[in-house]
């Protein structure tokens, strides 16, 4: 089947989509957007987090056809252009604080933090932890990520 949706502001079409495949597969394998990562395919790790109609979701748990006609924003869509100064403030804060190690969890975390700060410009530490409960990181131990969120909130 064919799936058409608006991804990062552009109308995109994917053909020969198998109805049981996920939005994550469509983004990565059919639309050339490898930002959202595939790690667990069961909603546990959050590395595939994207906005679907403005809400962060696990792209691995959205059936491709459910995205038909919807609006998707991936980590690639958060920065207006490439180059460090064009990055979103959340991306810049992750770089500045060393919150990125292997980087596998980073795209999902960036989207989750972007959403958190849009809803709550000055989150407390417990609120940050709660908002990021669905994003696992195996490298950083989370302290640098907490720092990144605090920095992004004030920049």
């Amino acid at each position: 089947m064919r799936v058409t949706c608006v991804v990062n502001g552009e109308t995109r079409e994917a053909d020969d989509v198998w109805p049981g495949e996920s939005l994550l597969f469509v983004l990565r394998e059919r639309l050339g957007l490898p930002g959202a990562k595939n790690a667990c395919e069961q909603g546990e790790c959050g590395s595939c987090t994207v906005y679907l109609d403005g809400q962060p979701v696990c792209a691995c748990l959205v059936a491709a056809g459910q995205a038909q006609g919807r609006t998707v924003t991936t980590v690639e869509g958060l920065a207006p252009g490439s180059g460090e100064e064009q990055l979103d403030r959340v991306q810049r804060a992750f770089l500045a604080t060393g919150a990125v190690q292997c980087g596998f969890c980073t795209p999902g975390l960036i989207v989750a933090v972007h959403d958190l700060l849009a809803r709550d410009p000055a989150p407390s530490d417990p609120d940050i932890r709660e908002a990021l409960a669905g994003n696992l990181c195996r490298c950083t131990g989370y302290e640098k990520i907490m720092e990144a969120v605090r920095l992004a909130a004030t920049s």
């Binding site: 089947m1 109805p19 049981g20 696990c58 748990l61 409960a133």
Partner: protein, 285 residues
């Protein structure tokens, strides 16, 4: 595999009647895991996310009727005052990403004994509204579950909504898990105290082949609570209530916990929930 995407409720029921083996998909947080891991290969997926009737809620006489497709996120944001116990349970589901997609209809559809909505629905005395082209029926949630992952729903039926009393009692929900987020309950307990009718509702999760009510504990507590004076609950009453809740469970030993631990933990959760609900009715009583 076919992808069926009805635009409205009438079409959804017609499609389900024509394709009884089609697997409904709402938030996909259970269905997609099964597809991703090759545990399910249905002939067709029946996407319910276009059916706007399923995402509505409103009052229906003495009942609050909530569409099966309302997400946990919306239950927390929009309905915390009207379904306090269920909203507390919703806060414990998965992560923000899961709560943004997952629905109570999907929880009922999966009918897992560990589903977190179920104890709260049992305690509140909810009805499950099932519909097909043959008609609509409202089943008390106490009669809905027939076994692990099984319910009274027939292959041509869809879950339309659940209904709870429009005026809730003092409700609480508590869950035991290995961490604070993203856990399947080791066991869970929901309580509803209705001062107006002097009745008690309970729900036990993850401690039996289906979610359960503790009927004996309900009757005992309803008779013993100092409804008139609203004085403190005697310690002996709280302890006996906890015991009766623990003995109503039918737990097994599994990787998440032993049967004995679950009975013990349920007794503790029941006493705590009682203390919270009695001292902080949350404006609901």
């Amino acid at each position: 595999m076919e992808f069926l995407q009805p635009a409205d409720w009438a079409e959804a029921l017609a499609v389900k009647a024509a394709h009884p083996d089609a697997l409904p998909i709402a938030g996909g947080t259970d269905v997609m895991v099964d597809l991703n891991f090759d545990r399910a290969r249905p002939g067709a997926l029946l996407d319910l996310t276009r059916v706007t009737d399923l995402t509505d809620w409103g009052t229906d006489g003495d009942w609050l009727r909530v569409g099966a497709g309302v997400t946990y996120r919306r239950l927390i944001d929009e309905l915390a005052g009207r379904v306090p116990g269920l909203a507390l349970a919703s806060r414990t589901v998965g992560s923000p990403q899961i709560r943004n997609r997952g629905t109570v209809g999907g929880n009922l559809g999966s009918a897992s004994p560990a589903g977190d909505a179920h104890p709260a629905l049992l305690a509140a005395g909810a009805l499950v509204e099932l519909a097909s082209v043959r008609g609509t029926r409202r089943v008390p949630v106490t009669e809905y579950f027939t076994g692990p992952k099984r319910s009274v729903r027939t292959p041509d039926e869809l879950i339309a909504a659940f209904l709870v009393p429009a005026r809730p009692g003092a409700e609480q929900f508590a869950k035991v898990g290995t961490r604070n987020a993203m856990v399947i309950a080791v066991c869970s307990f929901a309580l509803s105290l209705d001062a107006a009718t002097r009745t008690v509702g309970t729900g036990i999760g993850s401690a039996g082949p289906t979610p359960l009510r503790a009927t004996e504990a309900e009757a005992f507590l309803a008779a013993e609570l100092p409804w008139e004076t609203r004085g403190a609950v005697p310690e002996s009453v709280a302890a006996r209530f906890g015991e009766l809740v623990g003995s109503a469970a039918r737990p097994i030993d599994d990787v998440r916990g032993s049967a004995d631990y679950r009975r013990h933990a349920l007794a503790v959760l029941a006493r705590r929930a009682l203390a919270w609900a009695w001292t902080d009715p949350g404006g609901a009583v």
